[in-house]
């Protein structure tokens, strides 16, 4: 167990780093944050010390790591090269980053851990894409690396021009994923401690718009037995990586009894679909991530209330005063300087009613 007063190092300066930092402070830790100088680094505002340098700056990263007792990240696209040779404990271990940074590697890993994944094919050229479309006529072309919130993706239908689609994602190495005609989306947020014990949160119904999470709510779109299966899958996946911290795995709910869930992607970090836990679970995902990487026992993940989480994206932040007319609205505001379309500015958890403990 890291002692009270130890220093947590967070790589990444966004809202996830900020909420991780706030949780760490409430546990009595010190917080250092590393982030690129060109970002709106809202996590800097809650840190005792900060380093502003590109992720690729291995010397800056090494200096940062030397000043902390454990290093974690809020962002799965941290270059693994910059973390090599660092003596400080890195949790989750960079092996998880290697799996999550490349969609093709990720799909293979998910499948290897027993999670069902949808049909997909690698695409390195327009010719590859033409060939792949013979097998997968209806799908999404996605860059293998550096995509998030729907970026680096192109819709593929029989009418799409291959050349334009490949150009739209920057001509980068990609995969063509078959479109899954889902009835709902869900995710499994699981915390795994340094001792290997894990605790899962209740699975929400997730709603995306334009590739960005819009809201999560309850009831879950899947039954308890299926949730237990998903929890087993993700626990196995974590065991394969000797994972320490919180992980999020997104699933499509197919409505097909033969294959009711298909894993979409994994994020080796706290996850937007777990923000409801700040007001609806005994211990929130941010605190459990910090507890895990500090070698502390995990707190209960028990759901305590019916919660609807609504993201405030771009100008949505201007609706905050209206939301606050509802005393059940519990806001979390990230403190970003500039409102931009598609930018996550905050979220509101609407608490409805408490739920019985098991």
């Amino acid at each position: 167990m890291l002692p009270i007063g130890a220093t947590i190092g967070i790589v990444g300066g966004g809202q996830l780093g900020r909420m991780l930092g706030l949780a760490a402070l409430d546990l009595g830790f010190r917080v250092h944050v590393f982030a690129p100088p060109d970002g709106d680094n809202v996590a800097f505002a809650i840190a005792h010390d900060t380093v502003a340098a590109p992720y690729e700056d291995a010397a800056a990263m090494a200096g940062f790591a030397a000043g902390v007792d454990v290093l974690t990240y809020e962002f799965e696209n941290v270059p693994v090269g910059a973390l090599e040779g660092i003596a400080t404990a890195i949790r989750p271990a960079p092996a998880a980053l290697l799996k999550a940074q490349d969609r093709l590697v990720e799909k293979a890993f998910l499948a290897q851990c027993g999670l069902p994944v949808g049909p997909h094919l690698p695409v390195a050229s327009v010719a590859d894409l033409d060939a792949a479309r013979a097998q997968i006529p209806d799908g999404f072309l996605k860059a293998r690396r550096l995509g998030y919130d729907g970026k680096g993706q192109a819709r593929i239908t029989p009418e799409t021009d291959s050349e334009a689609a490949f150009a739209a994602i920057g001509g980068a190495p990609a995969i063509l994923e078959e479109r899954i005609p889902f009835v709902a989306e869900t995710s499994l947020i699981l915390a795994r401690g340094a001792d290997g014990a894990s605790r899962a949160y209740a699975m929400t119904r997730n709603t995306h718009e334009a590739g960005i999470l819009r809201r999560t709510d309850f009831p879950s779109p899947i039954d308890a037995a299926l949730a237990t299966t998903a929890e087993r899958w993700v626990a196995d996946l974590c065991e394969a990586l000797d994972y320490v911290g919180v992980i999020g795995v997104e699933f499509f709910v197919t409505g097909d009894p033969a294959q009711p869930l298909i894993a979409n992607e994994m994020a080796p970090r706290v996850h937007n679909t777990g923000h409801w836990t700040m007001d609806g679970a005994a211990t929130c995902q941010f605190e459990n991530h910090i507890r895990a990487i500090a070698g502390w026992p995990l707190g209960s993940t028990q759901r305590t209330a019916d919660i609807t989480m609504v993201n405030l994206i771009g100008d949505d932040i201007d609706e905050l005063p209206a939301h606050l007319q509802n005393p059940a609205a519990l806001p979390h505001v990230y403190g970003k300087r500039e409102t931009r379309a598609g930018r996550k500015m905050g979220h509101v958890n609407f608490i409805a009613s408490p739920v019985d403990f098991d």
Copy 2:
């Protein structure tokens, strides 16, 4: 409504200021903290800017106030003189400090607002004390100013030596309070918004040891009708002060149906007996204090869980690892550098089971 990004100024650098600051950050505010340079100012660690100066330094206070959008305090003994002439909004208004800083004034004010108070007499000398003991043979001699956590108090029984007792509290102006043979202690934590709307939290059973709060738990030692009466009293008291923010009023539960509650003291700030709200109420006392002083609507004070709050005092902090073996233990650690007997180092909320909304 103060806009997101506005600056909250907190006077006082202890754990209450720290938890107020963390709540303000999560709402998207900036936080400045003013505290004396000789304290273990754990609130400094979460602030964007700090001023270290004695409370009496009016120039430093004026400079601090000029840099914030609203000024509040975590500590009721801030000298009111240092706040005079400040143009920045001060919430709660210093009138509340004037009532709370002098036990004799406080008792008169509580009574004026309709709250039952116990028998008490002013004592300015040993001769006064001798005279008062004729009417109140069994009680506590308490300095009128600057007492907290049982400091500045002396027990008075028929055997006590008046001169020694008066010397023990420093020979300062005092009151002799009759000992109330209570069956339990409780408190009413109420938030009042800038619009005059108020919301009360559920009343806990409070247990003190050696003058320091040890724990709060449920069920409340009083029934719902009596809690409603207490809420009305405190709402009236707040209206008399045009109070904005969270207030705590402590009561003795007498077991006497004719006079079931006797008000002990008021604290014009967030209160230790409200720490359970961090994990057991929809909106915690710290967030509601910040919402109130920022002119935001209050959040629901609805209790969501059965919670036992245990203070970690002095060496109790060493028991934290043992507490954490229980996944229902939700710790809040203040980050104090030095452990000292009687010093509040943190608290743990133990979550038992959720409670139905009304």
